[in-house]
Amino acid sequence: MSSSSQRQAAERHDAVPPPGWIDFAQRGRVSIRTGKVELGQGIVTALATIAASGLSVSPDRIDMVSANTDESPDEGTTSGSQSVSDAGMRLRQACHQLQDRLLSKAAEDAGVPVEGLCVRDGCVIDSAGVLLSTYWTLTVTRGSSDVVAPPVPDGLDQAGRAGDPRAAPGEFRLDLPDKIMARARFIQDIRLEGQCFGRVVRPPSLGSHLLDVAWPTTDQRADAETDTVRVVRKGDFLGVVSDREESAMKSASLLRTHATWSEGPTLPVLPPETTSADAYPSLVVHHHGADGFPIEDESYAATYSRGFLAHASVGTSCAVAVWEDTHLTVWSHSQGIFNLRHALALAFAVPEDDITVRHAENAGCYGHNGADDAAFDAALLALNVPGRPVHLTWGREDELAWSPLGPAMKVHLRASLDRAGKISAWRHEGWSQGHTSRPGTTGLPRLLGHSLMLGDDGLPPAADPPAQAGFGGGRNAVPLYDVPSCTVVTRLVSDVPVRTSSLRSLGSHCNTFAIESFMDELAAGAAVDPVEFRLRHLTDPRALDVLQEAAEMSSWWTPREQENVALGVGLSRYKGAGAYCAVVAQVEAHDRVSVQRLWAAVDVGEVITADGVINQIEGGAIQAASWTILEEVRFDSRGVSSRNWDDYPVIRFVDVPLVEVRILHRLEPPVGAGEAAMGPTSAAIANAIRAVLGVGLRDLPFTDERIRSALAR
């Protein structure tokens, strides 16, 4: 079956699984092939849980096959918090259907009615408890079909903690034992026969071109060892390949000092000042009710912003690539292995069938990072050593300077309050660069190294996901609250020479920060408690529940005794159709401001793995806390200037708040938790900081410096 028809089959919820999705080839084991990939979010474990439950087998029998373009279904990118709702529900349906088919076959083979049969751990038993057949005997096409229950798997090291209150069987992450015990598992650990190592050398500034490479003359000392180095140069692409990693690193270092580049154009001030209403094409994301603001009502306005954000994963982008005759195999931590295959096919002008992309795990992935670019870099270097795998890793500086960034955003809000203190009109205007520039989309490779190789004007500007995909700059720009009239307009900024793409929650983070900050300002205008003000504008019971739960968890209604402690609240429903999340933050102000505690109430509908949900909400909240008080990418006239952990600090252990997460269980379709906490957490912290200091800060991040300046004014 071709990959496009595989994709079509996978998208219909009633599809019978394509061959190989679920197989019983190995006795006692169940192989599941999913197109979704492990980003550190635990999705592979969640899918294994769904499969085990759907097939009525022990979770220990499930083998999740790492996604690759040869064997796995094309399930799109692993992004947007939709793996459980899309791939997960498809898988569940496929498992149920398969179980039904196998039960029918078992009944037929035994000449008994199917109603009396059930499945226990892959074994079909009748009402008397007699073993009739097993999944493995029912699916065998040749060889022995002895009906013997397969042995209970002895892989119980992670699940065999009887009475463990913390996590249910199947909740223990399948990949953690290897990672905690430091077994070779990450993409950085791949070591293949004949492997050599590569490094790339990036231009010193955006838009500068490679003029000359003066390789230093060799030292003639007799006792020196030698190592062959291949320098690959095409256009502005510069890289090295050598047998040993240290030689590749040393050569790259030499090239950095011995390559001559032209000066790039001076960059404008970044983030850009984009307050002009007409400078960019606008998109009406939403409109209802009357235009304008009632004259008799009190009007409020505020402008909020955030800077560019870096993914800043602890691991750097990495890939392995090998050309064998005309076939390219790439190992990558990309979120979208099929998109990457398509992008590489375009970049190298070869058929897609001549390329295999295999997913390999890296450190946490929070969106479209440098994974695909590293894959291209490795493949280009590998063209020069046919038959030999090239293992390529980006340095930390390149990672922070050349990966796509989360766009800077500006949001201008205006609202009116009637005499009863209720919102009578609401207007949102937002500016943002595009939130997607994924490789292989819009018919272009969109790979950094490929653009450098062509020596052209750079990568095309990012676009925004459309409405059906939940918008980009417009994501969560429509407030959750009941307002009589509402207009939401976003503008796509496309002339800023910064490469932007998807970063955890896309526009939802800044939009929710802005809306929730503004709600607090309006609440103050109405002289109403911030939570009470929100409750008065909500009728969605699920929103009401998470908000009230977070208030209760944080003892919101009990005033804090200390003067220098304050609470703040943030609420959102991710993408307007996903998880509900309410966060309360407690902030303390001494010589500096610190986030002490976060309480989060979340509703994801049906819960697949509770521990997975808690991890994603807590992890997302802590990352959002870091975004709120520390992070923004810095630029100088040449490009990104924040290229290490000193210049781009992320939150460290001593500053991490305590986090408590409570899940509200609902029998609703399951939705993902991975991005739900970002906006509410930033908003809650921002509101708490404003409350404790009494200053009106509106531009993220709220660094110590910004807070001091605001207090001084």
């Binding site: 550190g40 020196a224 994963s313 946490g364 280009l380 930390r396 992320v650 991490v656």
Partner: protein
């Protein structure tokens, strides 16, 4: 093979070399074994471990000692192996995560697993090393002391609180297991 001259193909690669490396023979004590490696003396220990000794559990994160992913124990102290030239180690004992993982692993690792205290897991080798160094010095740390000891380790996925709880649990397990040793350690101090 795709044409090297086409727009999608690679440029002629220029074969450069030789790259002169000033290698010397260096003795190392790693995980209780003695090794002899032929490397440049200023090569960071991280790459000797990963590429010359096949010990892949110690990780690259930044190369400038700011993230902790590359931590190893040298004479019991947590040290950034990316910033440690291999020639400067001498006869000191290097302990990597592989040594700690022997058998069913160190109590810190067992606790991290029990608490499911990791998300992507990339930072965790360095964190185990920092935690082990802490627990060798201090048998009964507070949560704040654990956070302080781990402050040189970055975790971007937000597993911090679980990690701290796991380290505290490991400290308890170690005290329960070796009460005599922990008392004598205190006396030595």
């Amino acid at each position: 093979m795709t044409s090297l001259d086409e727009p999608g193909g690679a440029e002629a690669c220029e074969l450069k070399g030789p790259l002169r490396l000033r290698q010397t023979s260096i003795d190392l004590h790693v995980n209780g074994h003695r090794y002899e490696v032929d490397v440049e003396p200023e090569l960071p220990l991280l790459y000797v471990l990963r590429n010359h000794l096949g010990l892949l559990g110690t990780r690259f994160g930044c190369g400038i000692g700011l993230c902790g992913a590359c931590f190893v124990l040298i004479d019991g102290r947590a040290v950034a192996s990316c910033q440690t030239p291999v020639a400067g180690i001498g006869s000191s004992d290097v302990t990597t995560i592989e040594k700690l993982s022997e058998g069913s692993g160190h109590p810190v690792q067992q606790a991290l697993l029990d608490h499911q205290a990791a998300q992507c897991g990339y930072c965790i080798s360095g964190i185990v090393v920092s935690a082990v160094a802490l627990l060798q010095e201090s048998g009964n740390p507070t949560a704040a002391e654990v956070a302080e000891a781990l402050n040189d380790n970055l975790c971007r996925c937000g597993a911090h609180n679980r990690i701290i709880r796991a380290v505290l649990a490991a400290a308890t397990a170690l005290r329960v297991r070796h009460p005599v040793q922990s008392r004598s350690r205190t006396r030595e101090q």
